[in-house]
């Protein structure tokens, strides 16, 4: 391929990708615009620019309680899923055992499963067990879907883990706990951190599972959906923009942190 031909193709690819990125973030921009209106309804172009709805949202007690619920669920889900997924990832990627191929497929299955159907199935299951639906049952629902994802993320890090490191530590005199604490966990830390980040963000933003399993409690996405269907206020795009920016900060911050650690380790 000629050099000029290659350059044209490359610029086309860059242009195409830029267009797709615009396409992806256009709704977020619209959301931001809709949050900055002074009136109760959204009409473009905006006549009266104002931050009044931002103020109202942050002052709202209802929003505070929703944030509380969402964050509590997310924190619990993150902690539990990371612990379970850590061991699950070792079984996924490190050790060779007889059921491993079957185990890998089983772990991936919930990720491919339609979430709304999973949510409804859990609703049915919880009812059969006679459990009352609340944010606690939502935690379990999130765990079922999110833990396999975190397992996958940590597994990717485990695949590049040199088992000789553990053997060396043992050879130098460390017992099993010391090996785990001094070698395995620190070396796998970037993968674990990414997994925790994923877990938090996926739980925070989850809608289908929360919808069916929170019962009387409500998370932020559920509230937003209800308001979208009936009772729209510009508070909805406010929360939407807050979610987007919050997720962006966490993601970029997490990525920056991991790059730093990777560079210090000489990768």
């Amino acid at each position: 391929m000629t050099d000029r031909g290659k350059r044209t193709t490359n610029s086309l690819i860059v242009a195409w990708t830029a267009a797709i990125i615009v396409f992806i973030y256009l709704p977020a921009v619209c959301g931001l615009l809709a949050s900055l209106t002074g009136s109760r309804y959204f009409l473009f172009p905006i006549q009266k620019w104002s931050l009044v709805w931002w103020g109202k949202t942050f002052a709202s007690l209802e929003i505070r309680s929703l944030l509380d619920t969402s964050i509590t669920i997310a924190l619990i889900v993150t902690t539990v899923s990371v612990v379970i997924a850590f061991f699950g990832a070792l079984a996924f990627a490190r050790y060779n055992w007889r059921g491993r191929k079957l185990y890998q497929r089983l772990v991936l299955l919930p990720i491919f499963f339609p979430q709304s159907v999973l949510g409804l199935a859990l609703l049915l299951w919880f009812n059969t067990l006679g459990m009352e639906l609340s944010w606690k049952t939502a935690v379990l629902a999130h765990l079922v879907w999110i833990t396999p994802v975190v397992t996958l993320v940590i597994s990717i890090q485990v695949y590049s883990f040199d088992p000789a490191l553990e053997e060396a530590a043992e050879d130098l005199g460390a017992n099993r706990w010391q090996v785990l604490r001094e070698v395995t966990l620190p070396v796998l830390w970037p993968g674990i951190f990414s997994g925790a980040l994923f877990a938090f963000l996926l739980s925070w933003g989850n809608f289908p599972l929360s919808l069916f399993t929170t019962g009387a409690d409500s998370t932020v996405p559920e509230y937003l959906y209800a308001k979208m269907v009936a009772g729209y206020t510009p508070g909805v795009p406010v929360m939407g923009t807050v979610s987007t920016i919050g997720a962006a900060i966490l993601l970029l911050g997490g990525y920056g942190l991991i790059s730093l650690v990777r560079r210090r380790r000489g990768h």
């Binding site: 040199d162 000789a164 053997e167 060396a168 043992e170 130098l172 010391q178 380790r265």
Partner: protein, 356 residues
């Protein structure tokens, strides 16, 4: 040489099965305290498995491993007074040089100030700049990493050090330097070193004794000189590199008959009960002749190929189906051209007779 001291490590019928396959097959071996013993073999010969059993990372299927007359088969790696230097070095990437070296001491609860002192001692002994104490190991060069790995292994003063082909992934020049340094460290510390490699050349540089392994069995054990001059069989003799091998049968005293070449050769004294085997002549002992009387044995062939190998030139001469290799120094390049007929030969004392 360290003969005369008691064996520190004894192997009796050590075997390891993986399913049907015997990766290590009834090894009997005594390793003397303080010696530099190298196990040499091609890939798949079982040397890695054997080493791992000695270090405690695998358990033998049968047989006994005795450390100073104490059976250690069931003793896990972290309780053995031995230490291994891995092929990948297995340096902890998240720790500095000093932290890597001190690891075994930290595990045993040694005081931080004492640890640091010991680490700096080792760094001096291994010629690592003291300023490297806080340096991340991933920033160190290949040679420096080797030294850190060695320092780490020496830190808690183990009785035996095991080496799993640590120099195999390094370029030639650095390897030569490190081989010499390892030999010096061995002499300075006086510890027993058990080393494995696939390169007989490397083993010859460093070892007091060598064990040649093939398909799980120890084929020959001896000093480097013994292995080189009196290889027990064709495999061992070929292990050093390219040699000339002629299939022969016993003839009159001091003579052997090469049926394939339709000739008889003067040979060194045959081993007891020798009837069939191989006559082995190293390329550096073959030479081109002006007339048949210049050597004990001679052959005529066609000059087939010529290779420049640094300080030497290698000539390949075809005689019927066989190809003979002759090496000369570069300054003594031959005047003959390819496809010329050449006369070459060797003296009986420079050849080795091995049984089938």
């Amino acid at each position: 040489m360290v003969s005369g001291r008691p064996p520190i490590l004894r192997l009796r019928g050590v075997t390891k099965h993986f399913g049907e396959l015997a990766a290590v097959d009834r090894i009997d071996l005594d390793i003397t305290e303080g010696e530099f013993f190298t196990i040499v073999g091609p890939s798949g010969s079982g040397k890695s498995t054997l080493l791992r059993m000695l270090a405690g990372m695998e358990k033998p299927t049968s047989g006994d491993i005795l450390l100073k007359d104490q059976r250690i088969n069931d003793l896990p790696a972290n309780q053995r007074p031995t230490c291994m230097v891995f092929q990948s070095l297995a340096l902890f990437p998240h720790r500095s040089v000093g932290q890597n070296i001190e690891f075994s001491l930290k595990i045993r609860g040694m005081d931080p100030a004492l640890r640091r002192k010991r680490a700096l001692e080792l760094m001096t002994q291994l010629r690592l700049p003291l300023a490297y104490y806080d340096k991340s190991v991933t920033r160190c060069s290949g040679g420096e990493r080797q030294r850190v790995a060695l320092a780490r292994a020496l830190a808690y003063d183990p009785q035996i050090l095991f080496f799993d082909e640590p120099l195999s992934a390094i370029d030639y020049k650095l390897r030569k330097t490190l081989e010499k340094e390892l030999k010096d460290i061995h002499r300075e510390t006086g510890k027993t070193f058990v080393y494995i490699t696939h390169s007989l050349e490397e083993a010859m540089v460093m070892s007091d004794r060598i064990g040649v392994m093939r398909a799980g069995r120890l084929v020959q054990v001896g000093t480097p000189n013994e292995i080189y001059t009196t290889p027990r069989d064709k495999f061992v003799s070929e292990f050093m590199g390219e040699v000339n091998v002629i299939d022969v049968t016993a003839g009159a005293t001091g003579r052997v008959s090469a049926g394939g070449l339709g000739a008889e050769f003067t040979a060194p004294p045959a081993p007891a009960g020798f009837s069939r085997g191989h006559l082995v002549i190293r390329p550096e002992f073959m030479r081109f002749l002006g007339s048949p009387s210049e050597a004990d044995n001679h052959l005529t062939g066609t000059l087939y190929n010529e290779y420049a190998l640094g300080s030497r030139i290698q000539y390949q001469v075809r005689v019927g189906d066989l190809v003979f290799i002759i090496e000369r120094l570069r300054q003594q390049a031959l005047a003959a051209r390819l496809d010329d007929r050449v006369l070459f030969g060797w003296d009986a004392k420079d050849s080795i007779l091995v049984a089938e």
